[in-house]
Amino acid sequence: MSDPLSGGKLLRRTLGILISVASFVSVAVLAWLVDQNIAKNPRTEDAQVRANVIGVATQVGGTITGIHVKDNQLVHKGDLLFEIDSRPYAAEAEKAKAQLALTELEIQAYQDQIAASEAQLKQSEAKAAYAVDYAKRVQALVGNLYVTIDKNQLAQTEAVTATDKVSQDKAALERARNLLGNQGDVNVRRIAAQAALKDSELKLSYCKVYATCDGYVTNLQITPGAYAAVGEQIFSLVDKKIWYVLANFRETDLKRMRPGMSVDVYLMAESGNKLRGIVQGVPKAVVALNTPSNNAPGGEGILSRVSPTIDFILLAQRYPVRIVLDEPEGHSFRMGGTASVIVHTGSDIEEGMKVITRLQQVQDTEFVSPMGGAGRIPLNE
């Protein structure tokens, strides 16, 4: 051995002690550095890619007569997805149209009825006026015995009868007016018939189902001929515009997290490629799974169910922090994909919030009903 150290035992001894001490100091310092880094930039591997999913369902029941998309196909907002047998609904709409026409005729008839009742009332009023006058005149003559008592009684009876006829005809007029169904300037019969027609036309329009967003048809496993029940989801549409990562962070990490913080996202599907995300929100609630107790309202006779034993070692609850992926174009994100994320708590929050606002502008397009368009949803973009 020509090593210079081998000469002096003392040197080796000193060096040995130095290395021993240095190893303890270094491990303390380095562990502290690692801990600081992780505390300032919390990370988790428990994260999944998520997207907004629309369960495409029909608003009317019926046999599916045509499916115009294929599984995994990209569709655009307003594209025709599938059709339901529209014949029953078309017939229903025709019926409602006829009913509306019939209602118009009915309204005319009731108006005529009112005119007749008015005439009738006028007539009976005139008759009553005469009968009452006549009865008065006859009454005046009874004392002088110019008329018989019987004649007088007959005149009085006729006066009462004629007056009652007026009341009767007034009631008949009132009834005819009520049957017409006018309330102020509007006719409720007409409104009911028009609403029924609108409803049946709406149902007819629901026979064609359109895409409500740009997205991917997913899990389409039926063919024309299948029966679609009202509200039953036929397949899913994965909104392609906005993608999220739900990263489940320990509750100990959450206190540093704020919406707008910049995030490094690594997807298993794009190994080694660093993507950018922004924290959109930190959740306020999850179901507590690490305790056997249940303090939720309702359930078990609306009382808390409290376990007398708990685990000796408690694990931190995890909360799904929502991270919006920036610049989703050009990536083939898949919902459910595995991700790992690092949140930079020291990043520029205001800049991050601007990115969030920009990304959500794309998302906030409202759904427009198929009604009123010429077979397509009116596109507002």
């Binding site: 690692v34 880094n37 660093k274």
Partner: protein, 86 residues
């Protein structure tokens, strides 16, 4: 030692960007800390050979703790170099 730490701090500053914390090996994903531990073990083995050659082994006390501390230190260094967030 302090020079070593300053070199380390400098390296961290220079790299400035962390790597993917999941390492893909034949379709299975390994966490970064596992890779760092394995790398730390390997570097420690090299260091052990140096100590052996220099005849320092009898003077490292307490040996198991010193070795444990060295393995942990080397692993931490690797993690800080490659996986720490800037």
């Amino acid at each position: 030692m302090s020079r070593w730490i300053s070199f380390l701090a400098l390296s961290v500053l220079v790299t400035m960007t962390g790597c993917d914390p999941q390492l893909n090996i034949a379709g299975a994903y390994f966490p970064a800390w596992l890779a760092c531990t394995l790398g730390g073990l390997f570097l420690f083995w090299l260091l052990h050979l140096v100590f052996l050659k220099a005849g320092l082994l009898p003077y490292l006390f307490p040996l198991p703790l010193v070795y444990g501390a060295l393995i942990a230190s080397l692993s931490c260094i690797l993690w800080l170099l490659f996986f720490a967030a800037p």
